[in-house]
């Protein structure tokens, strides 16, 4: 039973990727990424200020502390524009494609 669970988890982990986005001097880099359903997007904030990654379509709203990291798992295919609620001049895009 445990063996099956480990197998399932291992298989899942092998498919799903972690995509890294850096935040530096009020910019998401890269500004546009492509992800697959089930992937994790992780933002690493190099700024001395808190930021958010807030999807315009409401699918995610992540707070990233100063010098902190935060992540979200993308669940549905589609193009998602996102921005920082505190600094709306910071914008990014996630293109999510199906498996």
């Amino acid at each position: 039973m445990l063996g099956v669970l480990v197998l399932v988890l291992a298989a899942g982990a092998a498919r799903a990727e972690v995509i890294h986005i850096k935040i530096d001097k009020l910019a998401f880099a890269p500004a546009e990424i492509t992800a697959h359903v089930g992937d994790t997007i992780e933002w690493a904030n190099a700024d001395f200020l808190a930021h958010t990654a807030t999807a315009r379509n409401g699918t995610f709203d992540v707070m990233i502390a100063a010098h902190g990291k935060a992540s979200t798992v993308v669940k549905a295919a589609g193009t998602v524009d996102y921005y920082c609620k505190f600094h709306p001049n910071m914008v990014g895009k996630v293109v999510v494609v199906g498996k």
Partner: protein, 174 residues
């Protein structure tokens, strides 16, 4: 209309003040550091007033953002001037900013409810516009130390974000 005049006046104060801070020459790094720090402190004080007076959820959230960001920037600025062994120097621009902010605070103190919220947010838009204009046209080009210039440039991006954020909150109040 009044807000526009106040904004234009502030722009004039910063432009002429910054220029005359050194008898017509461009402001020095110690003066620039003082102006930038003062401008941040003014917005922190404005946020404190908003948090004491406003009951509007979005206005309060905005004020908290301003308090947090400007405190972080000023902390960074203090650490930098300490590292560079620069002593911020008071000047006519800083004095004019403080005087104008004091008048604005007194004016806002007389308002309450939706009238206060609108006046505070409109002033936040105008104030960030003015400070960003001064950063772009006077303070950044005049800064001679590379690290100070870089912090001012990051500051400009932060405050441009605040200006857009303020515009969004202000638009929702109408």
């Amino acid at each position: 209309m009044f807000i526009r005049i106040a904004g234009a006046l502030a722009a004039m104060v910063i432009a002429t003040g910054a220029a005359s801070a050194q008898g017509g020459a461009k402001p020095t790094d110690p003066q620039i550091a003082h102006i930038a720090y003062t401008a941040g402190q003014i917005d922190i004080d404005a946020a404190k007033q908003a948090l004491a007076k406003s009951k509007n959820k979005e206005v309060r959230a905005f004020a908290q953002d301003m308090q947090r960001d400007h405190t972080a920037v000023n902390k960074k600025a203090l650490a930098l001037v300490k590292k560079l062994k620069v002593t911020p120097e008071d000047n006519d621009t800083s004095k004019a900013l403080v005087k104008q902010a004091k008048e604005k605070r007194a004016e806002l103190a007389k308002l309450s409810g939706a009238a206060f919220d609108k006046a505070y947010m409109d002033n936040e838009v105008a104030y960030h516009k003015t400070v960003n204009g001064a950063l772009e046209k006077t303070l950044i080009p005049s800064a001679s130390n590379a690290e100070l210039k870089e912090l001012l440039q990051t500051g400009l991006k932060i405050f441009q974000g605040h200006e857009q954020h303020a515009e969004q909150v202000a638009a929702k109040l109408k």
